[in-house]
């Protein structure tokens, strides 16, 4: 083997690639920004590596080497709310959290409901620390009344459409969106919460909302929305992706739809498989205000069950930055959303893997090959010839979430102060190290 063939090698790590069914100690060889090969440890491999310059070798002893993680639900806030996040800072947060690709939601100002805005985001993302895939809007201005120019959006590179933040309330419009999307073979992603039933609600409707006197958003609002869309999916045969599943009934409905063979996929967020609504009354922490809301222990357990039995395909953060000024206020007046890119891996390890619900392979699958397959994205695997997007994780690293350490421009996380286990140490994008926890950030970053 001619060693100069390789630009970078990651040695001694435990390589996990669910797409290849691979899970053992191996070396990953990178050339020209692509995966050249993955070889299990041997004397020949060691000799090859020994011939390389030290700065081309990463020693991942004790660490996991996995395909670059993909987060299919991220709000980058640019254009419009650059005070809360920009494409640059959001991608820096992604890299620090181990994500080499993110899907950005279209509810920016202006909305991503036309080619120009898609192009703007793509241009801004060109030099960023993560790949940015754009979700276009389903309806013009996310107003729910007229279809956006979906053909144009797809032509410019949008990988899916969604009115995220809002449910497409009209069944007629949703029907047409599903039918129309079939021409482009893209999923229609839905924020499934009936807007009439959850109007003015600021937290889950439960004994907790009753106790606190806060207006509730019932789980039934999500269940009804999902059941309606499943019926439309059955009718149209179009691909439906349910975003941030939060309720027991929703998980059940999607499980049944999948059994029936419908083209339905879905995602769950860490806050929905970790938190419950009894947290809210403790301090009225506005960082716990999120849509759909964090719900009861029974709902959380159902989401975990859905992750375990495969009903839930993807783990996505719904990273939703809000400035301190927006969140430092009365609970019911705070905007909904919390950041998540930099805490996902720690929460997955601490709450799903360490508690025996998922093994690393299952968990990585839901953050790599599954999202890549659902949305037709590059990467998600370390197969030869694929882009060299790689994440290196220290699975045993214990750490405390600190507001001052976020790369995101915003700090609206309810997990600040939590002790977690499992942290990303290096992130490699197209063969280039874009994040290295061992190296301090350059001044001004």
């Amino acid at each position: 083997m001619a060693s100069k063939m390789y630009d970078l090698v990651i040695k001694n790590g435990r390589v996990i690639d669910p797409a290849l069914g691979f899970g053992r100690e191996a070396a990953v060889f990178i050339k020209d920004g692509k995966i050249a090969r993955v070889e299990k440890a041997s004397a020949a491999v060691s000799r090859t590596i020994d011939k390389l310059d030290d700065d081309r070798v990463i020693d991942a002893t004790g660490h996991l080497v996995v395909p670059g993680l993909i987060d299919v639900h991220v709000h980058l806030r640019e254009p419009g709310r650059e005070d809360a996040e920009t494409i640059e800072t959001g991608c820096r947060a992604a890299a620090a959290g181990g994500f080499t690709a993110v899907c950005c939601m279209p509810n920016t100002t202006p909305r991503i409901d036309n080619q120009e805005t898609v192009k703007f985001v793509q241009d801004r993302a060109y030099t960023a620390d993560a790949r940015v895939y754009v979700f276009g809007a389903i309806t013009k201005d996310i107003a729910g009344t007229e279809l956006a120019e979906i053909g144009d959006l797809v032509k410019m590179g949008a990988v899916a459409i969604t009115d995220d933040g809002h449910y497409v309330q009209s069944p007629e419009i949703m029907r047409r969106a599903l039918e129309y999307s079939k021409m482009f073979n893209i999923p229609v992603a839905q924020h499934a919460e009936d807007g009439l039933l959850s109007a003015d609600g600021v937290m889950n409707e439960s004994f907790q909302s009753s106790r606190l006197g806060l207006t509730g958003r019932p789980a039934a609002a999500e269940e009804i929305a999902v059941l309606r869309d499943i019926a439309l999916c059955r009718m149209t045969g179009a691909r439906l992706h349910i975003q941030h599943v939060s309720a027991k009934g929703t998980v059940r409905a999607i499980r049944e739809a999948k059994k029936e063979g419908l083209p339905v996929t879905c995602e769950a967020t860490p806050h929905h498989f970790v938190l419950t609504d009894d947290e809210i009354g403790k301090e009225f922490n506005t960082n716990l205000r999120v849509n759909p809301p964090i719900r009861t222990a029974a709902d959380r357990d159902a989401v975990i069950k859905g992750l375990v039995d495969g009903t839930i395909d993807c783990i996505a953060s719904d990273h939703a930055p809000h400035s301190d000024e927006e969140k430092d206020c009365e609970f019911d007046l705070a905007p909904a959303g919390m950041i998540g890119l930099e805490t996902t891996v720690g929460l997955v390890k601490t709450h799903l893997i360490d508690r025996g619900y998922l093994d690393w392979g299952d968990a990585i699958r839901k953050m790599t090959i599954n999202p890549a397959s659902v949305f037709g994205l590059e990467g998600g695997t370390l197969a030869e010839g694929k882009i060299a997007d790689i994440t290196i994780i220290d699975p045993d690293k214990r750490w405390t979430v600190k507001a001052g350490e976020f790369r995101s421009r915003s700090k609206n996380s309810p997990f600040i102060g939590r002790r977690l286990k499992g942290r990303v140490v290096k992130t490699i994008l197209g063969g280039r190290v874009v994040f290295d926890r061992g190296v301090r950030r350059k001044k001004g970053q």
């Binding site: 439960s206 009753s210 606190l212 006197g213 509730g216 206020c329 009365e330 019911d332 007046l333």
Partner: protein
Amino acid sequence: MSRLSAPHLLGLEHAPREDISRILETSDTFREVLDRTIKKLPTLRGITVLNLFYEPSTRTRISFELAEKRLSADTISFTASTSSVKKGESLRDTVQNIESMKIDMVVVRHSSPGVPYYLTQCMDANVINAGDGAHEHPTQALLDMYTIYKRYGKLDGLRVVLVGDVKHSRVIRSNIWGLKTMGASVALCGPSTLLPYEVERFGCDIYTNIDEALDGADVVNIMRIQLERQQAGMFPSQREYTNLFGINRERLKHLNRNYTIMHPGPMNRGVEITSDVADGDKSVILEQVTNGQAVRMAVLYLLSGREEGEQ
């Protein structure tokens, strides 16, 4: 130092029995002062109290202002018809301004649950919750409890029925927690649309039939029903509400002989309560108003940590 277990009175859900007992006992002392010719004590001289009202209120604000003045505190009142956010100034800025004015105690009313707690996180003053959204209104519940206590000499073992819009009532929530802590048996009654989700978990008996709810009860505390609930589709008409839940003379026959009629005001006469019941000899509705001052004096005094006569 506060003479209660906490420096603030944010609600009754977590208030220990000893605190409530102390407030009720202390209220008795101040109640006596209200019958004197000169209804004033030097107890809170030199202490500045701010009444911060983000929601319109007449009786609660006046009751607090009177209580403060009768204890010789310096008082100022701030009333805003809308929340600070809508006005353009953040709640934190408002609060920090207040803190800079060297205020010792704040009485706050706000439409958002949790605002009194928020205040305790950004200022040193003692905070008294005068109603936060549909969450809690502890001094109203305390004055209701004091009124019952004065009449029966106890709370333990009494049967109290709270009637009305349970879902949106902070008065009912505070009454539930306080009464249960003091050993009373609590029943809730209202249209099922105005009973909050999983209402049974409050640990009360739940009724949608008013006659059954009143059966064998000692005290009926009747809440104002707001017209806007009907407009929001919570019940079909005021007429039907009155027919199903209105308290009239005929319905009183279900109660124990030595019964008591209460209403925290303001009343919709002819809607949730008929005038003959409101003005009847078992009604303590105006006594509640007087007792409210005594209870608020007690709360201010106990939280201030002042000795009687200390200046």
